[in-house]
């Protein structure tokens, strides 16, 4: 069963693929677009990408399971990624992770029942001067504390 990919996304994907001498090289940009569209990389998604790039689906799964940002399970509408690396931890990230976890009722790695929030801990986001740092989907949030997080979550919940 083919996954539901918008025609405009497919067009973007084909344009991307033309920039590489070998189709397989486009796999990461393609998977990003597929994940953005479907919310995750399903088995059908893997097969679709394999067909598109002319490779064995095993090779697609090899890539999907290697990279931390690609998910084989559906992600929530808002993917909250809190850095748990050195500087952020020194500045209190671990207690923030516990706080968010408790507030949303999910453990790191889980998605809320209403499909709105996924919480994960990630390694260094490259925003150490604003530690503790957090990323929601593609947006960075720095200098986090409980109050700021409350505000952000409230906004998103609307």
């Amino acid at each position: 069963m083919s996954p539901e990919i918008k025609a405009s996304t497919e067009k973007k994907i084909k344009e991307l693929m033309s920039r590489y001498p070998k189709k397989q090289a486009a796999i990461l940009p393609v998977l990003h677009l597929v994940q953005r569209e479907l919310g995750y990389i399903s088995e059908d998604g893997e097969k679709w990408v394999a067909d598109l790039l002319g490779i064995n689906p095993v090779k697609v799964r090899e890539v999907v399971t290697f990279y931390s940002m690609l998910s084989r399970k559906p992600l929530g509408k808002y993917h909250i990624q809190i850095c748990s690396n050195l500087t952020c931890s020194l500045m209190g990230a671990e207690s923030l992770i516990d706080y968010v976890s408790e507030k949303l009722g999910i453990k790191p790695g889980e998605t809320s029942e209403d499909g709105k929030f996924t919480l994960t801990t990630v390694e260094c986001l490259g925003a150490c001067d604003q530690a503790p740092s957090m990323m929601i989907n593609t947006d960075y949030y720095g200098n986090m504390d409980k109050k700021k997080i409350d505000k952000i979550l409230k906004e998103l919940d609307k």
Binding site: R19, Y20, P21, K22, K23, Q24, A25, A26, I27, L28, P29, L31, H32, L53, I55, K59, E62, V63, F66, Y67, S68, M69, L70, S84, N85, L86, T87, S89, L90, M91, V122, E123, C124, L125, G126, A127, C128, D129, Q130, A131, M135, T138, D139, Y140
Partner: protein, 415 residues
Amino acid sequence: MPEKILTKDFDVKHLFKIDEYMKKGGYKTLTRVLKELKPEDVMSEVKAAHLRGRGGAGFPAGVKWGFVPKDVDKPKYLCVNADEGEPGTFKDRYIMTHNPHLLLEGIVMTCFAVGIHTAYIYIRGEYENMAVRLENAISEAEAKGFIGKNILKTGFDLNVTVHRGAGAYICGEETALLESLEGKRGNPRLKPPFPAAVGLFQNPTVINNVETLSNVPCIMEKGADWFVKQGLSEDGGTRLFGVSGKVKKPGVYELPVGTSLKELVYTYAGGIKSGKKLKAVIPGGMSSPILKPDEIDISMDCASLMKADSMLGSGAVIVLDEDVPIIDVLRKVTQFYSHESCGQCTPCRIGNSWINKIVKRIYRGEGKKEDLDKIEKLASNILGRTLCPLGDAAAMPILSIVKKFRKELESFIKG
């Protein structure tokens, strides 16, 4: 006040837009280089400038370019390493956010020097917003004829593509980056052969860090001699030092190569927050061996730090104060490397995980007195025995922390 090269115009509001960049003199040097100079001129100038790679390995850029075979009938590639995964490092993000055109100008000059017509910017997946900004900048540059076919009507062609990574620190290692760009798992390759001869799609490839390439326009504008003089040691130019941790003013500081670490922490970054005492400094990203307070009177250049058994790495300075339990530092280090190991070679895959398990057990309060010796033995079995430098990047900080803070770690085991 030392002169700034990379962050010179960071206060200009929309510097990332080509019109603002050109108002400040951007792309003038590129025009002169393409119209008046030969590729060899650029390469020899960069060699003379002693421009060391700013990614972490510190290899001289001009020398690396020289390794690319000249008369081959194969396409050559430039891969820009914008994977910036070394914990504590955030300088490339600054360049790509505030001044992407500086990077692009450096890319075009580099490709001209080596005879490359296809460039890929491998940017980490988390930097999505910067990737979009770069893509917009490329479109602007193409519209003005600085990138694309027949650049500035000189006959030089260059295509630049932004390629997103997807969350793997190992892809910052140059051969893993190539594997990832080819659409595979980020498993580093055996060297030799080196990427300059056998790289992307088996063709000659140059891989350089964002900051390294961003220095090329200045070198070509002001000359190698001027560039060398900006540094306080034999290495030329300035570096973007990223300071974070328990300092009053964390951020990016552009200072001459060879600036004193003490000055960086106390003068520029404002010293320790809340009047606490300094406990330790990690000078060059998490992979660099830790320094104690009596060791920070040192020049931030490759040679000096190597002499002190540490490394300049990515110039990312993490400052720890007296309240930081060293066990927290150690467990963050082991957590990171065991999570980021690609899993290809035995010592890194299993060694890092084993050490991580021991440290976690110590943190839980179940440490045994043989544990620290065991950690040292395991880390020594990783050091120098792995397929790629990640093994060393893990083993070196672990060994330095266990050695220099042994007493404190032992206290977690007894008490």
